[in-house]
């Protein structure tokens, strides 16, 4: 999908959220000089094409009590990446599962997952259970819990 200047204007106006009003798409349209139907149509197209991967309520997990936030990084042999990525990516409690490049020698990890929980012990238990159920004992991993949060919001694309 080729994005037009109008799409970029629309992206810029919705990246920090929809207005919480009765007719949000009409309101956005008013600001951009587009009709309500056109706004809905363009957003719908971006969703279909996967440019928008989801749309809805974006929660702040720390404020909701999910204070233990772990980035689990795995050193998966290249030939097993498809299989292991698919296994981890479909686990219910994993909120992200991305392949990223290794940076050898200091960084051998190529698969990144995020897991959140109410406590560090709960998260560690859930990782342990996952390793055992998916038989990942032979794949080296590290758990990096988050400390201070310096910033968290959606990306700004424009």
């Amino acid at each position: 999908m080729v994005l037009t200047e109008k799409d970029y204007q629309l992206i810029a106006s919705i990246q920090d959220g929809l207005p919480l009003v009765s007719h949000p798409y009409a309101e956005i349209g008013r600001q951009l000089g587009m009709g309500e139907g056109e706004v809905i149509c363009r957003i719908s197209e971006m969703r279909k094409k996967g440019i928008i991967k989801r749309m809805g309520v974006v929660v702040r997990h720390r404020e909701l009590g999910y204070t233990a936030n772990a980035m689990v990084v795995w050193d998966v042999p290249d030939e097993r990446l498809d299989e292991v990525g698919a296994l981890l990516g479909s686990r219910r409690c994993i909120t992200l599962c991305y392949q990223r490049p290794r940076r050898l020698p200091e960084w051998p990890y190529n698969l990144f997952c995020m897991i959140h929980g109410l406590s560090r012990s709960a998260v560690l238990a859930s990782i342990e259970q996952m390793v055992s159920e998916l038989e990942l004992e032979e794949i080296n991993h590290q758990v990096l819990f988050s400390g201070r949060r310096f910033k968290q919001r959606g990306g700004h694309y424009r």
């Binding site: 990246q15 009765s22 990223r100 919001r153």
Partner: protein
Amino acid sequence: MAVESHIAELLHPPVEFPGQDAGIPLTLLERRLLNEFQHDFPLSPTPFAEIAQRLDTSEEQVLYLLESLQERGFISRVGPVFKPRRIGTSTLAAMAVPAEHLESIAAYISAYDEVNHNYERDHQLNLWFVITTPDQERLEQVLAEIENYSGLPVMSLPLVRSFHIDLGFPLWC
């Protein structure tokens, strides 16, 4: 009235929500708003009325509660989450920062509009942040400026592939 039923619900919070353990007062309706509308947000002209219908309440109440959840910091926004590297580009960056400089270097990095996430992590690489820019050139410029300011190397780990379908944050986990 929206406010009255909100108070009534606060008096009878649900028991099964795990956030309760952290002493977070949330009504059943709030819990459902947080849980059930993280994806497939309606694209009809009046999406909040549609949500209200599904929750058997009023549009006014839904709008009031979403605003209130946002004010209390439980919701960052109601809107789209874009797929990384489809519009513009982004990377996850990591640095090993001496403890005594962490606060000031983190503040410098957070001040960039291009930086949307910035976390301390318990690892030798103790500062992790996401940079999102319209193009690669600006991304590299921001990385270079951070290296220049801090005098420390930045390890950049751009997304290669996603193995995950984003359905939001599973609050029942």
